[in-house]
C-alpha cells in the first residue's frame, strides 16, 4: 500500500435522482389517545405532547401523556384481562391471536415502514428490510411456542407471571415492541407497554392492528409518555415483571426501585462493542461489516460496533478502505429509497453525539467524516470515525449511541481480547478472520452476549439476545426469551 496515492473519488456527474417512497397510503391521526382495554381513550391527565419528524422538525401528531390515573386504569385492565380471560384461554387459542397479529403486520408492512421512518428518521431501506420484517418474524416465531411450553421446559411446569410492564427505546420502536409483546403473550401474560416519547407512532399503529386482530380487551395496553410515565409502571404494585430496553443509567435506577420487591426483570441496556479485524480477514467484507456495524440506524443501536480493533499490520490499508467506503455513503431524506444514513432521532441525541465528537477532538484523536451536504432542517450527523484512539480516551469508553467509530490497533490475539473486554459493557462483539479456529478461540474468551463472526448486526427471532455486565441481564429471542416471561419450578 502506497500512502502517496490519492483516495478514490466518489463525487461524479452521474448521481441518483430522488426516489421517494410514497406517503399517500399512510393513515395517521392528528391526535392519539391511550390504548387501554381495547380502545383508544382520552388521557385522564388531559396532557398531550407532540411527536416530530426528525428529518424536517415538522410536527406529525399529538400523543397523549399517561399520568398516574391512566396507568392505574391500564394496569387494572391488564390484570382483569389476565385473571378472567387470557390465563384461562387454551394456549392453542392464544397462539391464533399472535399469528393474526403477525399476518396483519405483514399486510401493513409498507405503511408501518413509512411511519417508522417519518417518526424516527431511519432510512426507509432499513425500516422496510429490517425493522418491519423482523417485527412480524418475532410474532410468528412466538406464536408457534404458545402451546408447546411444556416441551420447551420439560418437567418444570411453566406458569405465566401476570401483568408485565414493558418499556422500550426509540431506536427500533416497532421491532422492540414486537420483541417484548410476542413472548409475553405466548407465555400467557398480559401487557402494559410504553414506547419512547419521541417514537410512539408505530406502537400506536400496532395497537390498531391488535384491535383489528380482536385480541381480548386489556391483554395489551399501550400507554404513551416520557420517563415519569415509565416510573409509574415500574412502581405499580400489580406489575409483576419489568422488561426494559434502554440506557444503562435508566436501567440502574429501575433496578433500584424494584429492589426488595418480588418483581422479576430483564434489562437490555447499553454497549460499547468491539469489532476485531485480523490481518487474515477478508478485508473488503470486513470494511462492509464495520460500516454496517456502526452506521446502521445512525449508530442508534445498543449492539453497535462502536469500537474497531484493527491488527496493526493492516491498519493503514484498512483505514484507507474504510474512509473510501464512507465517502460512498448517501446521507439525506430518510424516505428516499437510496438513503444510507438518515436523521438523528432527536435534538437531544444530536447534542449528545456532538458533545462526544468535541471530546474526541479535544482528546487529540484524528477525526474523519463523510464529506456531504447536511440538510438545513432536522438533526443530522455525518458518519464519523476517529483514529489514533487510546483505550483511555472517553470516546473509547462511553457509549455514544451515534454514528461515531473509535479505531484502535492491536498486535496479538491476547491484546485484542484484553482491549475488547476492557469495558463495563458486554453486549456484543464482532470477529473478522478467515481462520475458523481463531473464531472459536475468541468467542469463548470475549465477554459479550452476542458475538458475530465475519458478519455483524444479524438478527433472528430464534437466537437469544442480551448482555453481560452493565449491558443488562436476561435474554430476548429464542427459548431463553420465553423463560424470561415464565415462572419455572
Amino acid at each position: 500500500m502506497n500512502s502517496n496515492i490519492q483516495p478514490l473519488e466518489f463525487n461524479g456527474d452521474w448521481n441518483l435522482s430522488p426516489s421517494l417512497e410514497s406517503t399517500d397510503h399512510i393513515d395517521l391521526k392528528d391526535k392519539y389517545g391511550l390504548f387501554i382495554n381495547g380502545a383508544f381513550l382520552k388521557p385522564l391527565s388531559n396532557k398531550y405532547f407532540s411527536t416530530i419528524n426528525p428529518s424536517n422538525e415538522n410536527q406529525i401528531s399529538l400523543i397523549a401523556e399517561a399520568g398516574s390515573d391512566d396507568i392505574n386504569l391500564a394496569v387494572k385492565s391488564a390484570k382483569d384481562a389476565y385473571e378472567n380471560v387470557w390465563s384461562k384461554m387454551p394456549a392453542k387459542e392464544r397462539s391464533k391471536y399472535i399469528y393474526r397479529i403477525a399476518r396483519l403486520i405483514q399486510e401493513k408492512a409498507k405503511e408501518l415502514a413509512v411511519v417508522e421512518t417519518l417518526d424516527g428518521g431511519k432510512p426507509i431501506r432499513e425500516s422496510r428490510d429490517v425493522d418491519v420484517p423482523l417485527a412480524a418474524a418475532h410474532f410468528f416465531y412466538y406464536a408457534g411456542w404458545a402451546d408447546k411450553l411444556d416441551y420447551a421446559f420439560p418437567n418444570r411446569n411453566p406458569k405465566s407471571i401476570g401483568v408485565v410492564g414493558q418499556i422500550i427505546p426509540w431506536n427500533f420502536p416497532l421491532m422492540m415492541a414486537a420483541w417484548k409483546i410476542a413472548p409475553a403473550l405466548a407465555t400467557g401474560n398480559t401487557v402494559v407497554l410504553k414506547p419512547a416519547e419521541s417514537t410512539s407512532l408505530t406502537a400506536l399503529k400496532l395497537a390498531e392492528i391488535i384491535q383489528q386482530a380482536d385480541l381480548p380487551p386489556g391483554v395489551v395496553n399501550i400507554v404513551t409518555g416520557a420517563g415519569s410515565t415509565g416510573e409509574l409502571i415500574v412502581n405499580h404494585n400489580d406489575v409483576k415483571k419489568i422488561a426494559f430496553t434502554g440506557s444503562t443509567s435508566v436501567g440502574k435506577s429501575i433496578m433500584k426501585s424494584i429492589a426488595g420487591t418480588s418483581k422479576k426483570s430483564t434489562m437490555e441496556l447499553g454497549g460499547k462493542a468491539a469489532n476485531i479485524v485480523f490481518d487474515d480477514a477478508p478485508l473488503d467484507q470486513a470494511v462492509e461489516g464495520v460500516v454496517n456495524g456502526i452506521y446502521f440506524n445512525q449508530g442508534h443501536v445498543c449492539c453497535a460496533g462502536s469500537r474497531l480493533l484493527v491488527q496493526e499490520s493492516i491498519n493503514e490499508i484498512f483505514i484507507r478502505k474504510l474512509r473510501d467506503r464512507i465517502q460512498s455513503l448517501i446521507l439525506g431524506n430518510p424516505l428516499d429509497k437510496n438513503t444510507d444514513i438518515g436523521a438523528v432521532n432527536s435534538k437531544s441525541q444530536l447534542d449528545t453525539i456532538n458533545k462526544y465528537i468535541d471530546i474526541g477532538k479535544n482528546e487529540g484523536a484524528e477525526i474523519f467524516q463523510l464529506n456531504c451536504t447536511i440538510p438545513d432542517k432536522g438533526f443530522w450527523c455525518p458518519p464519523t470515525l476517529f483514529t489514533n484512539v487510546s483505550q483511555s480516551h472517553v470516546i473509547a469508553q462511553e457509549e455514544i449511541f451515534g454514528p461515531v467509530l473509535a479505531i484502535q490497533t492491536f498486535r496479538t490475539i491476547d491484546e485484542a481480547i484484553t482491549k475488547a473486554n476492557n469495558t463495563p459493557y458486554g453486549l456484543s462483539a464482532g470477529v473478522w478472520t478467515d481462520k475458523g479456529s481463531k473464531v472459536f478461540n475468541l468467542t469463548s474468551k470475549l465477554n459479550a452476549g452476542v458475538i458475530w463472526a465475519n458478519t455483524y448486526n444479524k438478527f433472528d427471532p430464534t437466537s437469544p439476545f442480551g448482555g453481560y455486565k452493565e449491558s443488562g441481564h436476561g435474554r430476548e429471542g429464542g427459548l431463553h426469551g420465553l423463560e424470561a416471561y415464565l415462572n419455572l419450578e
Binding site: M1, N2, N4, I5, Q6, L8, E9, F10, N11, G12, D13, W14, N15, L16, S17, P18, S19, R125, D129, D280, A281, P282, L283, D284, Q285, A286, E288, G289, I317, R320, K321, S328, K337, N338, D434, N454, T455
Partner: protein, 298 residues
Amino acid sequence: MVNFFSNTKVDKVGIEDRVSRISKRSLKSDAKLDGLKMILSMIDLTTLEGMDTVLKVQQLCYKATHLHYQLSNLPNVAAVCVYPNMVKTAVDALKGTDVKVASVATAFPSGNSTLEIKIKDTKEAIINGAHEVDMVISRGKFHSGEYNYVYDEIAAIKEVCGERIRLKVILETGELGDFDHIRMASEIAINAGADFIKTSTGKISPAATLPVTLVMLETIKDYYYKTGKIIGMKPAGGISNSKLALQYLMLVKETLGPTWLDKKWFRFGASSLANDVLMQIVKQQTGNYQSKNYFSND
C-alpha cells in the same frame, strides 16, 4: 516459485450481501436515462460464432454506429468484438468512426494450445488492425497450480501487444471454482500486464455475475491503492437486460467511483443488451414500451 498474489481472502456471504444491497438502488428519471446511454457507450458488440461470415460482421459494424434508425443523440458502442479472421472486415467497416475493433485471441475460447500458436494468433489480429486483444488464460494450468505459467503467458501476450494495443485478459470465472481463485487469477492477470480483466468468454455458464464482478473490482481497487494505476473491467456474457446492466454500473460507482464509469475503463461484453437498452430509452422518452420489431436485430 514467486508468489504473485497477496493471499487476500474473499468472503462469499459478505460479497453476496453487498451485491444485494447495491442491486436495490433505485434508479429513476435522469439518472436512469444517463445510465442507459452510458451502457450503450460501453458495449463491446460481439459476434463469436462458428458461422460468422463477412456479411454478418459488416452488418454488426453498421449497427455499432447506427444503434437506432430514429433516435438521435445516441452514442456509438465502444467496440466490435470478433474472431481474428474477421478483424480486417471489421476494421474496414468501421473506418472513420470512433468504434474500436477488439479481437479474441490465444486459442479462444478454451485456450488449449501452445504459447507459440497463441503469440501467432495475437500477432495476426494486430497486423490486421485490431485495437484491442481479448485473450483467455490457461485454466488447466491454473488448476494444476502452475501459476507461473499462467503469468508468463499473459506477460508474453502483453509483450506482443505492446503499449498501443490494449489487452483484456479473460479469466473464464465459470471454470475457476470459487471467489478465492477468481481473486488470485485477477491478481495474476493484473500483475502480468493486463489493461482490462474480463470475466468470461460467453461460451461457459455461468458467465458474468454481479458477485464475481465485485470480487474483480475489489482486486482492481487494491492494485490502485498499491500502484496508483487504473485497470479496466469487462463483465461479459449473460448481461442481456438494462436493469442488470444498470446494477453493474452501480457496482462500479460504489466500489471504485466515477473515474471507472467510462468506456476507457469499463465495458460490457454483450450481443443482445443493446436492443433492450434502446427499448428502455424509448420508454423513458415516450412513456411507452415499443414492440421488439422496432429494434433491429443484427
